[in-house]
């Protein structure tokens, strides 16, 4: 058994139910009507017996698909919600960042907002006086601090909020999807901060969708699914489960579309080659990938639907090719960021109904290097753009 003093947060068998009235009693009239009527409330079990411990100095990741209950868990940890059952023990000061810049008021100056936000995060005026210069420095907003927040650009607002968040040291920090906002430069800043936290042994709880971050920073991770813990363990293991979960969802989704259990074996094989005709699973951003598809000939296969997915679950693209000949060769240009991808092929009949199994192709990897003539961009895919004036 681990020493009690090593535990930062102990979550003991918490349940959280939300009662969802069919008609919300927002007014007396509705309330009166609903008392007369039979009370048709439904209880939604958002968290159903969750227990875990976060040790001091851990970088603890919480992942799960949308609706798995991770935001609710986070709000329980932050003390915003009260558990229906069970208990949460927190040893030490805890600062949650469910959102950056909580309580920011557009009518107040930058300076006033720093103090207001700081107070809401649990710091008194004296502590804020000490931190103030550092915060402003880090945000690079010295000359704007006396201006009203409403005159800030959204980027400036995020910078200010983020600076408060990272200068606001506390024993336990909780972040929710912070990386989801901001541009590339901002995200890099976040990464730097996380690296510092990790090096310093700061206790951090991070809720995220991004498995890269989990693998890179977390010492332990937890995956939630429909209100229960699927696994607590190494980030690698959890990230794998997360990917499988997403994948199986995609597959289930596609299978659902399959006509009444009618399945044919496609006998499909998928291979990738580079433009010179050599087998390969590793390409550079901007390279052409030649997909070689071989399958059993059948009149049923009107088309083949070829999809490319990122390993973390995003559907990148999908297109249809004629599917009667028994083989196909397609060249796609991999305008993709670095990462792991795979293809998924499905045959459809003339009514666009799926026939036969979905076949998953091998993974391929995009490296950071760029092929000649490819400019950089951030985000998932490069969208075409034209500068009208600048």
């Amino acid at each position: 058994m681990s020493d009690k003093r090593d535990i930062a947060i102990a979550v003991k068998n918490i349940h959280k139910d939300f009662i969802l009235p069919q008609h919300k009693n927002n007014s007396f009239k509705q309330a009166a009507v609903n008392i007369v009527r039979e009370n048709n409330k439904t209880t939604q079990k958002v968290l159903d017996g969750v227990s875990f411990e976060v040790k001091k100095g851990e970088f603890f990741g919480i992942v799960g698909r949308n609706g798995s209950g991770k935001s609710t868990l986070l709000k329980l940890l932050a003390g915003v919600y009260t558990p229906t059952e069970g208990a949460i023990e927190v040893n030490g000061g805890l600062t949650p960042f469910i959102e950056l810049g909580v309580g920011f008021n557009p009518e107040l100056s930058g300076r006033d907002n720093v103090y207001l936000n700081g107070a809401l995060l649990g710091f008194n005026r004296k502590q804020m006086n000490k931190m103030y210069d550092e915060i402003v420095d880090f945000a690079e907003l010295e000359q704007f601090m006396d201006q009203k927040l409403k005159n800030y650009s959204s980027g400036m607002q995020v910078r200010l909020a983020f600076s408060i968040a990272i200068k606001a040291k506390n024993e336990i920090l909780i972040f929710d999807e912070v990386l989801a906002v901001g541009d590339e430069a901002f995200q890099r800043k976040c990464i730097d901060v996380f690296e510092t936290y990790k090096a310093e042994g700061q206790t951090v709880i991070l809720v995220t969708h991004d498995m890269e971050t989990v693998r890179k920073f977390c010492t332990t991770a937890l995956i939630l699914d429909t209100g229960k813990i699927l696994e607590i363990g190494t980030p690698q293991k959890v990230a794998k489960i997360y990917s499988d979960l997403n994948l199986s969802e995609i597959e289930r989704d596609m299978l659902r579309k399959t006509e009444g259990g009618f399945k044919n074996d496609l006998g499909l094989s998928i291979k990738y080659k580079d433009t010179e005709g050599h087998d390969s699973v590793q390409f550079r951003n901007g390279d052409f990938i030649r997909m070689i598809l071989k399958y059993n000939k059948s009149k049923l296969y009107q088309h083949l639907v070829v999809n490319i997915y990122k390993r973390s679950g995003e559907h990148i693209t999908g297109f249809r090719i004629a599917g009667e000949s028994g083989s196909a060769e397609v060249e796609v240009r991999a305008l993709l960021q670095k990462g792991k991808y795979y293809s998924l092929v499905q045959a459809v009949n003339s009514q666009h109904k799926a026939v036969g199994d979905i076949v998953t192709g091998p993974d391929f990897i995009i490296t950071t290097d760029r092929a000649a003539g490819i400019a950089g961009w951030s985000g998932l895919v490069p969208m075409e753009y034209k500068v009208i004036s600048s």
Binding site: F18, N25, N26, S27, F28, A31, K75, A78, G79, V80, Y81, T82, G93, P96, I98, E99, V102, G103, N105, E107, L108, D112, Y115, L116, G118, A119, L120, L121, G122, F123, N124, R125, M128
Partner: protein
């Protein structure tokens, strides 16, 4: 415990100062409006009840009595209305951060309290101008105002909690206050009410408070207080008992429901 204390004080302080900074945002007269509002209401009432319906004509220091009544009533009305809507108005905040929920209600109450302080300065200046001299009895205003504050905050806690579930509360309370204004003997001195009906007025804690305050400021016979009533003796306890009951109910009700504010709003 000390940490918690200073943390809450910091939040309260920032909330009150935010309220002050943004309240009269963009208006030319700015904060003077908090003084002007009761003064203008007073001016209207004074003109009506001295010249048009001359109720106050024969009353000693009627303008002072009227102004004090208006100022105290405005305070009561501000604490309860702003307080009633305060939790719902801070919904966004309460869903994202776990600060003690009562701070939100207290912050709005204290803002009103500071307003009252400023208004009272005007009342004192006006009293001197009206020929009253400062006297020891003015100090009695302090416990009376504390009593009013406790009563108003108690109501604010009940209304704020109920308002989370039933948004009708703020609208009903507005109407209730309109009636309360007349039931609280603000424009007319209670001495004009027939003696046997006065008891009913005094069941209202606001009447007891305003009459005590008037007597403290202008200690003349005409300012009847609850203490001058002879029968029934037990009546004198009623306003205080009501305040205690409402404050305790407010605290308990608020505390019980506040755990669920974040999900109910």
């Amino acid at each position: 415990m000390k940490y918690l204390h200073s943390r809450n004080r910091a939040i309260l302080r920032e909330m009150i100062s935010t309220d002050f900074k943004i309240r009269y945002q963009g208006s030319v007269l700015g904060y003077f409006w908090s003084l002007l509002k009761p003064l203008l209401l007073f001016a209207i009432l004074y003109i009506i009840f001295t010249y048009i319906v001359p109720i106050g004509k024969d009353i000693e220091h009627y303008p002072v009595i009227l102004l004090l009544g208006v100022v105290l009533w405005s305070f009561f009305s501000e604490v309860t209305t702003v307080g009633a809507g305060s939790i719902v108005a801070s919904g966004d905040l309460l869903r994202k951060i776990s600060i003690p929920r009562y701070l939100v209600v207290l912050a709005s109450s204290f803002s009103a309290f500071i307003n009252l302080g400023l208004s009272l300065i005007v009342v004192f200046a006006f009293s001197l101008f009206n020929g009253l001299l400062p006297q020891v009895s003015w100090l009695l205003l302090i416990p009376v105002i504390i009593e009013l504050f406790a009563f108003a905050v108690g109501i604010a806690f009940i209304l704020a909690t109920a308002n989370v579930k039933y948004r009708d509360v703020t609208y009903i309370w507005e109407v209730f206050l309109q009636g309360g204004f007349y039931a609280s003997a603000i424009i007319f001195p209670i001495s004009l009410v027939p003696a046997d009906l006065r008891i009913w007025f005094f069941l209202n804690p606001v009447v007891q408070i305003i009459q005590d305050a008037r007597y403290a400021l202008v200690p003349v016979e005409g300012n009847v207080t609850i203490w001058q009533l002879t029968e029934p003796k037990l009546l004198k306890v009623v306003p205080f008992a009501l305040i205690v009951i409402i404050s305790i109910t407010g605290a308990v009700y608020f505390k019980r429901r506040s755990k669920y504010f974040a999900e109910d709003i």
